[in-house]
Symmetry: C2
Subunit: 457 residues, 2 copies
Amino acid sequence: MQKIRSGTLAALLLGSLFTPVLAHAAPADSAAIRDAALKDEVAWDFTEGLTTEVGPRPAGTPQEARAREWAVAKLKALGFSNVRAEPYTMPVWLRGRDEAKILSPFPQNLVLSALGNSGSTPDKGIEGEVVYFPTLADLEAAPAASVKGKIAFVSHDMTATQDGSSYGYFGAARRQGPSIASSKGAIAILIRSIGTDHHRLPHTGVQMWADGVTPIPAAALSVPDAEQLVRVIGRGQPVKLHLTLTSKMLKDQPSGNVIAEIPGSDPAAGVVVAACHLDSWDQGTGAIDDATGCGIAAAAALQVAKAGQPRRTIRVLMAGAEEVGGDGARAYFKAHGTEKHALAIESDFGADRVWRVDFKLPQGHDALATSISAALAPLGIGASKQEAGGGADIAPLVKAGVPVIDLQQDGTRYFELHHTPDDTLDKVDLAQLRQNVAAWAVTLNLVANAQESMGIK
Amino acid sequence: MQKIRSGTLAALLLGSLFTPVLAHAAPADSAAIRDAALKDEVAWDFTEGLTTEVGPRPAGTPQEARAREWAVAKLKALGFSNVRAEPYTMPVWLRGRDEAKILSPFPQNLVLSALGNSGSTPDKGIEGEVVYFPTLADLEAAPAASVKGKIAFVSHDMTATQDGSSYGYFGAARRQGPSIASSKGAIAILIRSIGTDHHRLPHTGVQMWADGVTPIPAAALSVPDAEQLVRVIGRGQPVKLHLTLTSKMLKDQPSGNVIAEIPGSDPAAGVVVAACHLDSWDQGTGAIDDATGCGIAAAAALQVAKAGQPRRTIRVLMAGAEEVGGDGARAYFKAHGTEKHALAIESDFGADRVWRVDFKLPQGHDALATSISAALAPLGIGASKQEAGGGADIAPLVKAGVPVIDLQQDGTRYFELHHTPDDTLDKVDLAQLRQNVAAWAVTLNLVANAQESMGIK
């Protein structure tokens, strides 16, 4: 847990003395909302239902369309207002067969998963010799002649972190590795999965080809398979692989966002957007990524509504197509970016307990931050000095200057499951899920009822 | 850990007083062998080499043949005598495609793995409605009319146990479920994997069709997929599946055992057989099942040899075809059953620490058991009153009356990995592997040098 230096804490406390004291929701409200939310049934029910009755829901596919239908029906049944899907179209990459085998020196299969937007091999696959790079920097530094005509293999040393920061750093092997390998003439690229587990379940994920770069087959080996390949390479003989990574691209497929509201009493006070994403990767059922996020956002909004109509409208945004580049986020901003948004908040990092809160509020809102921090402290959540950044589905709002709060979830085990077939309901811990709902409910309640003028139009 | 009641311990200690004291290897030997074995490099090297340079090695396949070649070369290089492969032939079942999807009410894929000797579907698969049985007893009790023409689905509640006893009980769903389902007219059977993990990695394993029963497609769902199917069934609508489980049977394929010896000084004293199996299931690299067992047996024999030539020959038996029914064990017994065997011991339960020793020795060998127990105690291993039973590769010897000792390994996490793609080198813990080698080395040393007349001819 992030420790707050005593000077920082004093500053926060002093801040509340020197800021005009406004009529926030009474502290009693926070305690009551927190206690009720810790018994929440909605977040689990939503997560269980979406992952069971829809299952995987890749962006732009009929499964994602089923997810929208399911969510609209569910949110109406839960009592939300203005529930609707907001459609848009997008290009879609579809996985085919993912197969790999070592041909020599030690014939055996390897388990891997194509990355989003991977180029396709012919049906009969391709063969090539492996050239190994322990890190992305090694690939970057390699002369093109050493890569040309070969299968580049990039490893890395990602380990688990509570704040998920290792994903940002080591994830570059997935995000940039394919374009770098292609630009040096590689015929394909394999990366060690961007994950911290040791299961034969590869971590897929999107990557975007840099301008002018030719797509090549690109895939992630499971961590045990990547380690096996390193051992085989270590024997010193040339390593030849056969790869079959078939996939296809479709144009203009239907996707969409789902929106549901708790209407506020003061339309001029701006909307609080509580976001998550409805799409998932194709091989798991998207339980922690991001059915729980949608369950938390919906459940917390309902917990606030139960305590009384809020001043501001709480708008739950269940975005489409987050995993593949944020088409849903852009579509939302295009449709709603000119409305007054008081705050944006997103849950898209699993459902393990919230351990830290980060703020990015307008000047003069220290008292609001202090009251939120005080309401979160009984849940074991400490306030930080780090600036909140939001998630992918609210990124255009945040970029436009909308205030944002991050309820940071514990990511220690998140990258054991992220983007793998293993992202399933059994990984969700009910007690931690409820702690998330409670953190969200007290936060949404205080923000939605704050008397400050906040947000931008 | 199994607690020894004080009365039992007293009996063991008294036993050693009233039994003629024979010249066992001096206690100093045990301590020195134990200390050397705790720094063993051979077991890891063997395991790493076999799993890397051969990988999966299903019985009766070219990969198993490569494993024999690899093992013969390795054991010769390690200094063993009389190293050879002893061939035999056998029928072989080969996996094809394993695919399943829920067609209705909630279309989605399920992850599963065909069981050994499964019947094959046509290439285009089969369709059928699911009939659910929470336990094998429920299937047994069901009227045939409720099963006929349907896909039987049998679940169970296996949980982890240190001694692995839950496998014996709950494993019946795999061993007997298919024959029962077929005899009631099911068109296929799915079982929940006989495993204790929650990963999307199904546990395969062999099953034998009862006499007169028609083979049907038979497969294990991963535990999360089995739980998902239970949830889908729980919604109360008919559940229709599409299954593609292609496989084929081959006749008279080559398999074989590998044998290597530390020759003893007294050929008349009988052979000590130290067994493991060389074959593995097809989807993992057979690290804990059973590369480590072979590494432990070989390493321990070498540790004994380093301390001086033993009285009895130690024969390492790396059996073929254990996973699919014990063809190697039968071939060994056919070839060697008439030789005098002083003792048989097997390692085939992973490489987590040995926690208990069980004996089945001839009458009058209490002193030997006591000295072995005393030599194992510093490794945290307690002696039990349970009778040793041996493993599959020594079963014909044990049935014929050959004495046996079981160095029981901790099975708490064994069924997380057993028969899955996840059985790979990264699951092996070096410190625990070395503890196994030490336990085996002191045991083999005391048995091979015991002055008692033991064993049968």
